[in-house]
């Protein structure tokens, strides 16, 4: 099956902990993304990354960082979670760079207590 896969589905943690979410795509795409969907369902781009360039949304706090081992994987690390980080984190990928169609994974729901 070719798709975008994310693990875990859910994660509950306490303020100050470090968390890491995994994303893998088997679509052969060159660019991967992380989006955050807040409690009001607004989706916002956090990062876009291909093997040449990382683009960071300027509103993303520094405790968030993407980590990539190869073009099929882009993980998301949060160094010290805060309550406002509770959200659904969605990974996506697209062929090439630029304006190509993006495909999304099922998301990871983070709850920070």
């Amino acid at each position: 099956e070719t798709a975008v896969f994310q693990t875990p589905n859910y994660h509950v943690t306490q303020v100050g902990n470090e968390v890491s979410f995994n994303c893998k795509q088997t679509l052969g795409h060159d660019t991967m993304y992380w989006y955050k969907q807040d409690s009001k369902k607004l989706l916002k781009i956090m990062f876009s990354y291909n093997n040449k360039q990382l683009i960071v949304n300027e509103t993303v706090p520094r405790r968030f960082s993407p980590q990539s081992s190869d073009k099929a994987h882009l993980n998301l690390r949060i160094k010290s979670v805060e309550p406002e980080d509770s959200a659904v984190y969605l990974c996506a990928s697209s062929p090439g760079t630029g304006y190509a169609e993006q495909f999304f994974g099922p998301g990871t729901r983070l709850t920070v207590l």
Partner: protein, 108 residues
């Protein structure tokens, strides 16, 4: 949500009826995508548009880049069409900018 305005915010449809959703863009969009977010939270790709029109089954979408808007038409609504519909523009090749969504409920 400021750069991409979706309307209506919510819609209740009887099975078998037709309806239209709209997105207005405050700045010119290069490409547009429409998604359905199902109750489980998965984003399902419906359409990817450069300026023009596409049709897929009971769904039809149009994107007018000059007038900065896109529409999604649902024909003969079915129960499985329920969910939240999002449009998104890709302007700067740096990720999609989403609207706030239209929550659609189809009832028998």
């Amino acid at each position: 949500g400021d750069k991409v305005k979706q309307s209506p915010s919510a819609l209740s449809l009887q099975e078998g009826t037709n309806s239209a959703l709209r997105c207005n863009f405050s700045i010119a969009a290069t490409t547009v995508q429409w998604f359905l977010q199902n109750p489980r939270g998965s984003l399902i790709n419906l359409f990817y548009l450069v300026p023009g029109t596409k049709e897929n089954g009971r769904l039809k979408s149009a994107f007018d880049s000059k007038e900065s808007y896109s529409t999604l038409h649902i024909r003969d609504a079915q129960l499985e069409d329920s969910g939240t519909y999002f449009c998104a523009e890709n302007n700067y090749a740096q990720g999609l900018t989403f609207g706030l969504g239209t929550r659609v409920s189809v009832f028998p």
